[in-house]
């Protein structure tokens, strides 16, 4: 049966793009054309949205489709779709979309065995009418529950499967698995499909996180990770980023940090397209250091996206104004965009979407995240880690410099320093420390790491004044390691006016 059909069709499978944001990248082109894809997931995971969006976007792209709902009447679908900005009625009027009510009348009496041939006849007829290329059978498990026995349900599923194969439509069958799989239907759903996608929604630390995973794709490679997704304002959106480190842009030229002294310490400044971490305790001036960089970049005519999870854009601007930084002209001039959200306002995926949306729209040269220590509040450590990894990857792939601020609690807690286990991604690490002496507390700036750069190993005292951060002369005594002079490879050693 199936093997002979495949033997007759030795050509590689072709794919039907879903046009769902991010999904086609994960599927490496789309769903298997003319074949069946099973989408499984519990209630509320977005199976219906996925199916409907596949048809909606397909119809807009010239592939008419038929949606069979076994759970809800077409009117509900139209209303729900409208909230996503999809005008289904228009597509229906234009003969590009057909919504069919697949529910067996609940008031119908049952008197013996039956099949779903009525439905198949309707779908066949309608698909000829509109020349459908796509079909979605939504919540098929609900229809199968009407059958008197698991055997009857499986038989019907066989018939449906054959019908789908012969119809040559690109199809999605959605269903909700039951645990445990008493009647073996889950297995059969899995085996009938050329592609199986599982949707999953779980709540971690009171924040819902959704994950999509392709379990199987006959004849095709696919991204095998769990990918976060959200049901956003205009439909489903997946985050396909997984190609960790493979497409990173090389580090670019040196760009000014905004402080000539720091540029000297770093042997010329930050590197474009690098990832910089500024760690330190509260009050050390991390936000001011980051804003100084943003200010300098904007003055060069570059664009900066400043993502704030600690305070509002207004509060932040006021804070740095006290250090002589006036960011307003940059905001007014369209070179600086603030994105300020409470971390707990939404899940990590949604946060990532919003940042990536801004990155796509605004195309910044540099992104500041203030502060990554707040990301834990997006739904736990793991969510924060994934959020950061994906954001870092996206920025590195686009050649965007990303400056991360991390608020540390302890003075020199190196583990905590790099934050959320992203240390391998970091090119430059700056630490803003306090040195508490018997008579005074000094602030010290220290470069821990600067990939691809000579840099000073000295600790530099600095002060935050109404005209910004001023880095002072390092206290050069005898070296702390015998035989190693202080300020190894220290371009910043040479005295320089701040």
């Amino acid at each position: 049966m199936a093997p002979t059909a495949e033997a007759r069709l030795p050509q590689p499978i072709t794919k039907a793009p879903t046009h769902i944001a991010g999904l086609d990248e994960i599927l490496q082109g789309g769903l298997p054309r003319g074949r069946t894809t099973v989408v499984m997931g519990q209630a509320g995971t977005g199976k219906t949205v996925l199916g409907l969006e596949f048809l909606y976007r397909g119809a807009l792209d010239g592939e008419p489709g038929i949606f069979v709902g076994f759970e809800e009447p077409p009117d509900d679908l139209r209303v729900n779709a409208a909230t996503l900005g999809w005008d289904l009625s228009r597509l229906e009027r234009e003969g590009r979309l057909v919504l069919l009510d697949g529910r067996i009348k609940p008031e119908a009496l049952r008197a013996g065995a039956f099949s779903l041939s009525g439905l198949l006849a309707i779908v066949t007829g309608k698909s000829r009418e509109v020349r459908a290329r796509r079909v979605v059978l939504n919540a098929l498990d609900v229809a199968l529950r009407f059958f008197e026995s698991p055997v009857a349900a499986r038989n019907e599923l066989h018939i449906l499967n054959d019908w789908l194969r012969n119809a040559g439509l690109t199809s999605i069958v959605t269903y909700k698995p039951r645990a445990p799989d008493l009647d073996g239907l889950d297995d059969f759903f899995g085996s009938m499909a050329d592609c199986v996608i599982r949707l999953d929604a779980r709540v971690v630390d009171q924040v819902t996180t959704r994950r999509l995973r392709v379990i199987k794709y006959r004849g095709s490679d696919f991204g095998g990770n769990e990918y976060p997704y959200v049901i956003g304002e205009s439909g489903l959106r997946c985050i396909p980023i997984s190609t960790v480190g493979l497409k990173h842009e090389p580090l670019g030229e040196k760009i000014s940090t905004g402080l000539s002294r720091l540029d000297a310490i770093l042997d010329g400044g930050y590197r474009r397209a690098s990832c910089i971490l500024v760690a330190g305790q509260p009050g050390a001036g991390k936000t001011i250091l980051a804003s100084t960089f943003a200010d300098a970049a904007c003055r060069r005519g570059e664009r900066v996206l400043y993502v704030s999870y600690e305070e509002s854009a207004a509060a932040l601007a006021g804070n740095v104004a006290s250090a002589g930084l006036d960011l307003k002209p940059h905001v007014d001039g369209g070179r600086l965009v603030f994105l300020a959200y409470m971390p707990e306002a939404m899940g990590a995926e949604e946060h990532l979407m919003r940042v990536m949306d801004a990155v796509t729209r605004f195309e910044p040269h540099h992104v500041v995240v203030d502060a990554i220590s707040a990301c834990d509040r997006m739904g736990g450590m793991q969510a924060a880690f994934e959020f950061l990894m994906r954001l870092l990857n996206s920025c590195k792939e686009r050649g965007i410099t990303i400056l991360l601020i991390n608020q540390t609690k302890g003075a020199t807690d190196r583990v905590e320093l790099s934050g959320a286990g992203i240390s391998s991604m970091l090119d430059t690490v700056l630490f803003m420390d306090y040195a508490v002496g018997p008579r005074e507390t000094n602030r010290l700036l220290h470069v821990f790491k600067a990939r691809g750069s000579a840099h000073s190993n000295l600790k530099y005292p600095y002060v935050v004044t109404p005209s910004g951060i001023h880095i002072l002369e390092p206290a050069l005594g005898p070296g702390e390691v015998p035989g190693v002079p202080p300020g190894r490879a220290a371009p910043g050693r040479q005295p320089e006016a701040p």
Binding site: G102, A108, A111, G112, F114, A121, I122, K126
Partner: protein
């Protein structure tokens, strides 16, 4: 082509309610064939021919299936006497069918 012509008319007797039945079948699928046979037998005997059966093959006339919202076949729609009733299945559960048609007793 249409199978709608499978109607069976019988002379009406005074004072007896006529049955108006519409049976949706799927070609010669076994469940459909069984439902058809059962219904015809009940009509001839238990209902003494007081019925008008219209058989609709969904494969020949999907629009009718759409119009009457027939997803599962066979489906028997009892249109008259009111209220309208839907009976899904091969009609092998004859007790349910008899009850729905208001047939009393156990006449074959």
């Amino acid at each position: 082509m249409k199978r709608r012509g499978g109607a069976r008319r019988a002379p009406r007797r005074r004072g007896e309610t006529p049955y108006r039945l519409r049976l949706f079948v799927a070609g010669n699928e076994p469940h459909s064939a069984q439902a058809r046979a059962t219904l015809e037998r009940l009509c001839q005997h238990a209902l003494r021919g007081r019925c008008h059966i219209e058989v609709v093959d969904v494969f020949q006339d999907y629009r009718a299936a759409l119009e009457y919202h027939v997803v599962a076949v066979p489906t028997l729609i009892v249109e008259e006497p009111p209220p309208v009733r839907y009976i899904v299945g091969s009609l092998s559960d004859e007790a349910t069918v008899r009850a729905a048609l208001g047939i009393e007793g156990g006449t074959p």
